[in-house]
């Protein structure tokens, strides 16, 4: 994610409450793999890569359980709008108060694990931490959606079309 004014602030429990239904839905659909994810305290101590400190690989334990999963990407897209990510990054993530997410410029890294950490922890130029607002499972769905951006940004994600869900290495 670029350093340009990323946005918003701590989304609190209020946000979580508002979106309880969506989250409950996604939690119900979560595969068992999410149970093996590190807790947030561990994750907070992970080094975060990016364009300043290139890191060749994402830590194994931060593998996206949904990579390429079309229905997860569609759910991630709903979350992107419902959690007001679109408020800052714009509908379809073209950017505004926060940077665009469909290009190749990532300050904090564009690998799935790096995107996950940016959403989880927040970033200093304004990106809020969603740690309290969303469970890991929902974060991964957001990551899955974000990874689909930049391929065909003007077209909506179609959950029935797996061809669009192959992901893009940023």
């Amino acid at each position: 994610m670029r350093a340009f004014h990323i946005s918003c602030r701590d989304i609190s429990w209020l946000g979580a409450l508002i979106l309880g239904i969506a989250i409950a839905d996604s939690a119900a659909a979560a595969p068992a793999a999410t149970q093996q994810l590190p807790g947030s305290e561990q994750i907070m101590h992970q080094q975060v890569g990016g364009t300043h400190i290139p890191r060749p690989a994402t830590p194994d334990q931060l593998k996206n359980p949904y990579e390429g999963n079309a229905s997860a990407a569609a759910e991630g897209r709903s979350l992107f709008n419902a959690m007001n990510c679109s408020g800052c990054h714009a509908k379809d993530a073209g950017g505004g108060m926060g940077p665009p997410l469909g290009d190749k410029d990532w300050i904090y890294g564009g690998e799935p694990g790096q995107i996950y950490l940016s959403i989880l922890q927040g970033r200093p130029n304004g990106m809020p931490s969603f740690e309290k607002a969303l469970p890991p499972d929902a974060l991964w769905k957001l990551v899955t959606y974000i990874r689909t951006l930049g391929q065909s940004p003007s077209e909506p994600i179609d959950a029935s079309s797996p061809a669009k869900q192959t992901g893009k290495a940023h």
Binding site: R2, F4, H5, I6, S7, C8, R9, D10, I11, S12, L14, G15, I18, N84, G87, C88, A90, K91, D92, A93, G94, G95, G96, M97, G98, P99, P100, G102, D103, D105, P124, N125, G126, M127, P128, P153, S154
Partner: protein
């Protein structure tokens, strides 16, 4: 025609007199010994008060972004004329080192120029005696996260000078006063919270012993206010909210609105769904004017939040309005709501230029206000009566302004509603004109307006309030107006209500305007031109290609060498230029609240980068 500038001229005249009496007092003090010195000291005290408190109005200086309290941006300097401006050449430059939108006006006080930058809001002092040598830099160190709650790039619109202090706002809601000589911080007052989405981008106005500032964040569910701080120590003197009960809005017994719909108790509560006024916008991020003869300040309030109008039935007072307030107490004298229940993000923050006009044979104390809704209002500044309101841009959304009610008549089919797409709303959300300030020449009697030529398609959406995040509820896609151009720079005759000449620009004319006694008008374009045109005809006389698009406010001053200079910041950005300064995705129309779609081609014409340019005529002597 000369009557038109009476206010500005009177201000000059008054202050010349005050300076004269001060010099006399000093002369007496110097000439006479102890016996007289006590009298002289008391004279100085008496005389220094108005001088210190009044705006400095020396022709050679440029002490506030609009030059004077009337907000004319008119300079009486006349070395540069329509005849010789073609010889204008670069004198010196200075890089700000930043690559976001540079909307500020440089200030000049004596031998020093002061430049305030976008975030991180550096204040540079440059020595005019030595080609802009850097004297000092002051860094307020605003919180980094403030960048994330600034709706439309991290701009700053300038500083103000008075009483030996440079005062400006940092993005993270601190107003700071800096010693103009040394660059040392004198006071720093925190006025808002970025965690609630508040920022500050406007330029303060200093009136007598008070600094008047306002907040930004109308897209974040911020509740707008204007606040007066004591110039001496930064303590709060008064604060007036734009929404809420009368006691918060500083509406009392003296409040005499001209129009029926603006009368009643606690309208800032009653014209909203329950409690929505608390997150209803009406921020104060534009320009403030001041009339010393009535001691009133005038300023506009911004759009209501969220943009989706279905979520806030009612007039939503006092958003998209203008207030006249007593400068000492903040108490409201009158108000007019330009756009009750605003539908299109038509803020009321644009400048109010105070002039005295002869209308239908009668002298009137008026103010000129080119509103976001595309109409140019002439108001009686003593009562708030709208004398006339004529469209100054292409418009489809507002049919006319009803002078009986003061309300605009919205065109059928141009009202956004949840889930419904409404196409071809003109002007678009940034309005017929956004923040970019006009200039008024008492010599020509014309108003010079940099403005937009934009339309938009919108779909209103549901949105919930989450503190510190956008609260908009509208998907917007803007486009250039009919003819496929995005901006116009025009001259307007407020006495007749008619355009005199107009220059089409490919992009919105997003810079400020400057007009001089040499009858030369200056403005900048987003495709990197800085232009001089004839104030009477609009004929292009000179232009200079800057390093980046020009969205700053040009100024003029007389240097220590006696020569007239012109100065402007280049550095594209702002809401219109965010596509470049924020490297937004041009494939997606919704970026920057929909502005990207109208500016997709801007990256072909400019890159970001802040640079100050100072121009002068060739030769060593004036």
């Amino acid at each position: 025609m000369h009557r038109n500038g009476a206010l500005a001229n009177r201000q000059y005249g008054t202050n010349v007199k005050k300076y004269a009496s001060l010099s006399q007092a000093e002369w007496i003090a110097m000439k006479l010994a102890n016996f007289v010195s006590r009298i002289a000291v008391s004279l100085l005290t008496v005389c220094a008060l108005p001088v210190a408190l009044a705006a400095p109005v020396k022709d050679s200086d440029w002490p506030m972004p609009a030059k004077d309290y009337a907000n004319t941006r008119f300079s009486r300097l006349n070395q540069i004329t329509t005849g010789n401006v073609k010889q204008l050449q670069l004198a010196w430059t200075f890089s700000t080192g930043l690559a976001t939108g540079h909307e500020a006006a440089p200030l000049v006080v004596g031998d020093t120029m002061y430049v305030v930058t976008p975030y991180p809001n550096y204040l540079y002092a440059l020595d005019l005696k030595s080609g802009g040598r850097l004297k000092w830099t002051y860094k307020p160190e605003p919180a980094r996260a403030a960048q994330g709650v600034a709706c439309c790039d991290v701009v700053n619109r300038g500083a103000a000078y008075a009483d030996g202090k440079i005062v400006f706002n940092a993005l993270d809601n601190h107003t700071v006063a800096v010693d103009a000589e040394t660059g040392k911080e004198i006071w720093k007052t925190k006025l808002g919270d970025i965690n609630l989405g508040q920022t500050m981008t406007m330029a303060p106005l200093i009136v007598k012993d008070k600094v008047i500032v306002g907040n930004s964040g109308g897209e974040m569910g911020v509740r707008g206010w204007v606040t007066a701080l004591n110039l001496k120590d930064g303590s709060k003197a008064w604060q007036a909210f734009s929404t809420g009960p009368d006691k918060d809005v500083l509406i009392g017994a003296d409040f005499k609105p001209y129009y029926e719909s603006d009368r009643g108790k606690d309208l800032g509560v009653k014209t909203w769904p329950p409690d929505k006024w608390q997150i209803g916008g009406g921020t104060v991020w534009g320009w403030i004017s001041y009339d010393p003869t009535t001691n009133l300040i005038f300023y506009g309030t911004a759009n209501p939040g969220p943009w989706n109008p279905d979520l806030r039935p009612g007039d939503n007072k006092w958003t998209s309005s203008v207030f006249a307030r007593d400068a000492d107490t903040g108490m409201a004298k009158w108000a007019v709501q330009y756009n009750p229940h605003d539908l299109h993000d038509y803020d009321g923050v644009n400048e109010h230029i105070l002039v005295d006009l002869t209308i239908q044979g009668k002298p009137r104390k008026v103010m000129l206000h080119p509103d976001r809704n595309g109409f140019l209002y002439v108001l009686d500044r003593t009562t708030g009566e709208i004398i006339s309101a004529n469209p100054f841009v292409y418009t489809t959304s507002i049919q006319k302004v009803d002078l009986k009610t003061g309300h605009p008549i919205v065109a059928p089919g141009k009202e956004p509603h949840t889930g419904i797409r409404v196409n071809d709303i003109c002007p678009a959300a940034p309005g017929g004109k956004d923040w970019q300030p006009s200039a008024f020449s008492p010599q020509t009697g014309l108003l010079y307006i940099p403005h937009n030529h934009l339309c938009m398609d919108v779909t209103s959406t549901e949105v919930g309030y989450i503190a510190g995040t956008p609260y908009v509820g509208m998907e917007v896609s803007m486009k250039k107006g009919p003819g496929d151009y995005g901006g116009v720079f025009s001259a307007w005759n407020p006495a007749t209500g008619k355009e005199v000449w107009a220059i089409k620009e490919h992009y919105p004319a997003w810079s400020g305007a400057l007009v001089t006694a040499g009858d030369v008008v200056f403005y900048g374009t987003m495709d990197r031109w800085f232009k001089a045109v004839d104030a009477k005809t609009g004929k292009e006389l000179w232009k200079f290609q800057a390093g980046s698009g020009v969205i700053g406010q040009p100024i003029t001053f007389q240097g220590p060498d006696g020569k007239q200079y012109i100065a402007v910041l280049s550095g594209v950005g702002g809401w219109a230029g965010a596509v470049v300064s924020g490297h937004l995705d041009t494939r997606i129309p919704y970026g920057a609240l929909g502005f990207v779609n109208a500016m997709k081609d801007l990256p072909n014409d400019t890159t970001p980068g802040g640079m100050l340019y100072v121009f002068a005529l060739p030769g060593n002597t004036p």
